[in-house]
């Protein structure tokens, strides 16, 4: 691996180290306390390996988390970090990123953290397009509180808090993010290291809020929730890999394809010569999120078809850049503030 001379495009104000870094340097001395077999281990290993590749100064990386199993993540990375309050990490990270453009700020949380108690902060951080990388570990269950259903659990979920089955419709996190004007939305799977790393890389290349849903197995309270996407006998027909510029096809022999239906939605067809050219070609940069939204509705784990990859990646000015630009412009135009002049502004009078 060569030593990057500059950080990824999304983090180009963050200083680079100019030295080769290792996974070991990014691993803290804290004992990892997730349950054996938890999908979080795979995500941690992927992030610990991936972050050094960015070539950034390690001291300029900050991980902010809320509460939940996933939120323990910052303790295990040897960067700056804050384990904060349930749901509030996006808000805290907004302040940090706005005040410090020289930092690479990552936010880790679970589906309860991001979709439930912190739902309001998530949608606003996405619409503002704060330059944050938001990794949501979606295991469709509450782990740390020992197994209640979550806002992404399927209807009818039987848990301790819903012994007769849950009755409320879950969020589709990708649809929610797209509806909140997110500029970068992706989905990946904990066990697919290569895909996960590629998505993280794309997120770091994106200047703005990058929302990444990572489907993650909770082997204690919701084991096997994503087996259909992982088992050799089902995965090929279930996972739809979105590739930029490519027709959307899936299945063991790519025999299935996705195209616009005559009824204004998407449909899955058996691909043959007659319809091959009618397949939808994936374009993450489409300014309108409508197609990305339709793709997010194509299906989910419960009906066996789940698109993964980057749904949307478009450029829009970030909140933090614009706030800082206003500060710089004001200073450039009229010079730095003069405190004595400020205090004496308005009507003054003198008493001798």
């Amino acid at each position: 691996m060569s030593i990057p001379a500059q950080g990824p495009r999304g983090l180009d104000l963050v200083p680079v180290s100019g030295e080769k870094a290792s996974k070991k340097e990014y691993t803290s001395d804290q004992e990892v306390r997730w349950c054996p077999g938890c999908g979080d281990y795979a995500i941690l290993a992927a992030v610990q390996s991936f972050l050094p590749e960015l070539g950034l100064k390690r001291e300029n990386i900050v991980c902010i988390s809320g509460i939940g199993c996933a939120a323990r993540f910052p303790y295990y990375l040897n960067t700056y970090g804050m384990h904060s309050i349930h749901g509030r990490a996006p808000a805290i990270a907004t302040g940090l990123a706005t005040a410090r453009p020289d930092l690479s700020v990552w936010v880790m949380g679970g589906d309860g953290d991001f979709m439930s108690i912190g739902g309001n902060h998530l949608i606003h951080v996405l619409r503002r397009n704060v330059n944050l990388k938001l990794l949501m570990f979606n295991n469709r269950i509450y782990g740390l509180t020992k197994g209640q259903y979550s806002p992404t659990s399927e209807i009818g979920k039987v848990t301790k808090s819903t012994p007769s089955g849950s009755v409320d419709t879950p969020f589709n996190p990708v649809s929610l993010a797209l509806g909140a004007e997110a500029t970068f939305v992706a989905r990946t799977i904990d066990s697919d290291r290569k895909h996960l790393t590629a998505v993280l890389r794309a997120a770091s290349e994106h200047r703005g809020a990058a929302f990444v849903e990572i489907l993650q197995n909770c082997n204690i309270f919701n084991d096997g929730a994503f087996d259909v996407l992982k088992k050799p006998e089902t995965r090929d027909s279930a996972v739809v890999r979105l590739e930029q510029g490519e027709p959307i096809r899936f299945g063991a022999d790519l025999q299935k394809g996705v195209r616009l239906s005559r009824h204004g939605g998407l449909e899955v067809v058996d691909v043959d010569e007659s319809n091959e050219r009618t397949l939808l070609v994936h374009d993450v940069a489409h300014q309108e999120p409508a197609l990305a939204f339709m793709l997010s509705r194509l299906g989910n784990v419960d009906d066996g078809v789940t698109p993964i990859g980057i749904f949307r990646s478009v450029q829009r000015s970030t909140y933090d850049d614009q706030v800082n630009e206003q500060v710089h412009e004001a200073t450039a135009k009229a010079g730095p503030g003069d405190l004595a002049a400020l205090l004496a502004s308005g009507d003054t009078w003198r008493i001798d």
Binding site: S84, G95, D347, R350, I351
Partner: protein, 619 residues
């Protein structure tokens, strides 16, 4: 016609009208003229929460009271000597406060049968004997203004709207105010629409000339300038002073100021003010809610900014969890609570001091937070700097407890010399601080300064000091996650001891006891400073002995508080709540304090406080 001039040592004027009548502006302008003239003064705007309640109704009445004198002024005054009532609603809403013999200037044009019915007057009070104990001056302000503006290229509506300037002109004549500030203000306000400049200036001058020529006013009044310390002055409200204090703390510490806030009455003006000052590097973030406001401020503090959030009681409720996090993260953070009448929405534009115990104890767990309460509008400036000093030095969130009265009230402010303001050194951590067993060194984020018990503040971007902090209990020193029972006991006591220790670093409680032998001490905090001082003066003028002490620091209390309390036989604690400081004083010092409370959303009247003091003295 030459008019008789009478001397007055002080005057209280109240301007009252419909929300759309421009009474706040009229009051502001008269205040500016009065400040320019050199009187000491104090103001109290009193306006409804509704932006425009139905015209002419009681809920729509907006008022502005000004007290000015040839000596030092401590309150906006109890009862107005002059009431300007722009309509029947304004008369009805304010008449009860008017002492017999007061001057009553009313806009007679508005006393129509329809407007009178709207507020429940069966008959026109200008026509019957109901106002006979006042000096009533019914003046057709609207029609006189419209007549004066005939020939100008403005609509009738704009002409009518200038009637507040006619009233201001009349009052300016009556009290012999200098007019230059008002005239230059009008030039600036309506710059770009010369017709409106002309209309308002003409209306103002017409009001002045009306006073000169009408036989209704046979007397003019003169209030001589007050003797005040030499220097440059301006008039300032509490919210502006608080904003300036935060900017000054940023300048004097070299730390960037970051405000995370959600609009809420009566705190929003601080957000508005700070948003203007980008040249000072101020970043303001209007968040999606109160929680995000303080969250972003805390995030910015982690990055080395002065993190500030501004709010009122309902917002503090929502921010409590994040304040607790800041307590355990031990990061500097400023929480400005501009208190208003509660509970719940309560009376958003009215003042109360009912968040003291919320600031003290309103969090789960043992989560002590220092509290500073400014005692006058201009004191908000110094309180803000003091709050940043303590927050930075001790790595702790700090509460500033202002209130709606301080926030919107104003007084003359002797401009400080910028170079004399305190400097604040954040003393960021830059090096490893702990020897490892293997002989190497590491960084311990919770290794405390032995004097202050403050922990190091190591900013992201500092090489080698990478560390993780969080809400989970931390091991003393290393800061690693710890569920050890005795470590938790140690950490809870350390956090408390750190806050308690600030008592060594704040001024002692001063007592104003002119005769030195008073038996009764009046102890107050926050915005009651002026009213208590005025009441003490009334009582002392009668020859009685009373001492006054005022707490600016509520947590920790000044180191000599117990000693001061022990010196007096009786302690009276007036508060705009149901006895919150009294509860603290009783609990902490076993002093049988006497509580005197009012929760009407308005500051104490000095006369009612004087009665309370007389009662305690004679008991």
């Amino acid at each position: 016609m030459s008019k008789q001039v009478q001397q007055r040592d002080r005057v209280i004027i109240r301007f009252a009208g419909d929300s759309g009548d421009g009474m706040q502006l009229t009051g502001d302008r008269f205040t500016s003229e009065t400040a320019e003239f050199g009187n000491d003064l104090s103001t109290l705007p009193d306006f409804p929460a509704e932006i425009r309640a139905p015209a002419g109704t009681l809920p729509g009445v907006s008022a502005f009271q000004l007290h000015f004198a040839d000596h030092d002024v401590q309150t906006p005054g109890d009862r107005p000597d002059v009431l300007v009532a722009m309509n029947p609603a304004a008369l009805k809403a304010n008449l009860a406060d008017l002492p017999a013999g007061a001057d009553l200037i009313v806009n007679s044009d508005e006393f129509t049968p329809r407007n009178l019915t709207k507020v429940g007057y069966a008959a026109n009070p200008l026509d019957d004997e109901s106002l006979s104990s006042y000096q009533v001056h019914p003046i057709p302000l609207t029609s006189l203004t419209v007549t004066a503006l005939e020939g100008l290229q403005i609509s009738r509506k704009d002409a009518e709207r200038a009637k507040n300037m006619f009233a201001l002109g009349l009052l300016s004549w009556l009290y012999n105010r200098p007019t230059s500030t008002t005239l230059s203000f009008l030039e600036k306000k309506f710059a770009g629409t010369p017709d409106l400049v002309k209309a308002n200036v003409t209306a103002f001058n017409a009001g002045w000339n009306f006073g000169e020529t009408t036989e209704d006013f046979t007397v003019r009044y003169e209030v001589k300038p007050a003797t005040m310390p030499p220097g440059n002055y301006r008039n300032i409200t509490g919210n502006t002073a608080l904003s300036y204090g935060l900017v000054a703390a940023s300048v004097r510490s070299g730390l960037a100021l970051f405000l995370g806030s959600y609009p809420i009455t009566p705190a929003s003006d601080i957000l508005h003010e700070l948003a203007k000052h980008k040249r000072f590097g101020v970043r303001t973030f209007q968040a999606e809610d109160e929680i995000a406001g303080i969250g972003a401020a805390l995030g910015a503090a982690f990055g080395g900014s002065i993190g500030v959030t501004t709010t009122s009681g309902p917002g503090v409720d929502l921010k409590s969890e994040t304040i607790g996090l800041a307590v355990t993260l031990e990061l500097p953070l400023i929480i400005c609570d501009i208190q208003r009448a509660g509970p719940s929405t309560g009376m958003p534009t009215k003042a109360e001091q009912s968040d003291l115990l919320l600031a003290m104890f309103g969090r789960h767990g043992e989560a002590p937070v220092p509290i500073i309460a400014p005692q006058s509008p201009s004191d908000c400036f110094d309180a803000a700097i003091e709050a940043v000093r303590i927050a930075t030095k001790y790595r702790t969130p700090v509460f500033i407890l202002s209130d709606a009265y301080l926030a919107n009230g104003s007084e003359p402010w002797l401009l400080p010399d910028v170079e004399s303001l305190p400097t604040i050194d954040p003393e960021f951590a830059t090096a490893l601080n702990h020897a490892k067993e293997d002989g190497g060194e590491e960084f311990w984020p919770y290794l405390r300064d032995p004097q202050t018990l403050a922990r190091p503040w190591a900013l992201p971007g500092t090489p080698g000091l990478e560390h993780r902090i969080g809400g989970i209990e931390k091991a003393d020193g290393s800061g690693n996650i710890s569920y050890d029972p005795s470590n938790h006991d140690t950490m809870v006591r350390l956090r408390q001891a750190k806050v308690d220790g600030i008592a060594r670093d704040i001024p002692l409680l001063e007592v104003d006891d002119p005769t030195g032998d008073a038996d009764v001490l009046v102890l107050g905090w926050g915005s009651t400073y002026g009213p208590i001082g005025a009441a003490a003066r009334l009582v002392r003028d009668e020859g009685a002995r009373v001492a006054q002490a005022h707490l600016r620091h509520l947590n920790p209390l000044p180191a000599n508080t117990a000693e001061v309390l022990a010196r007096y036989e009786r302690v009276l604690i007036p508060e705009m709540n149901l006895g919150q400081l009294a509860l603290l004083i009783r609990g902490r010092f076993l002093v049988d304090a006497i509580s005197f409370t009012r929760v009407r959303g308005l500051p104490f009247k000095s006369e009612e406080l004087a009665d309370a003091i007389r009662d305690v003295i004679s008991a």
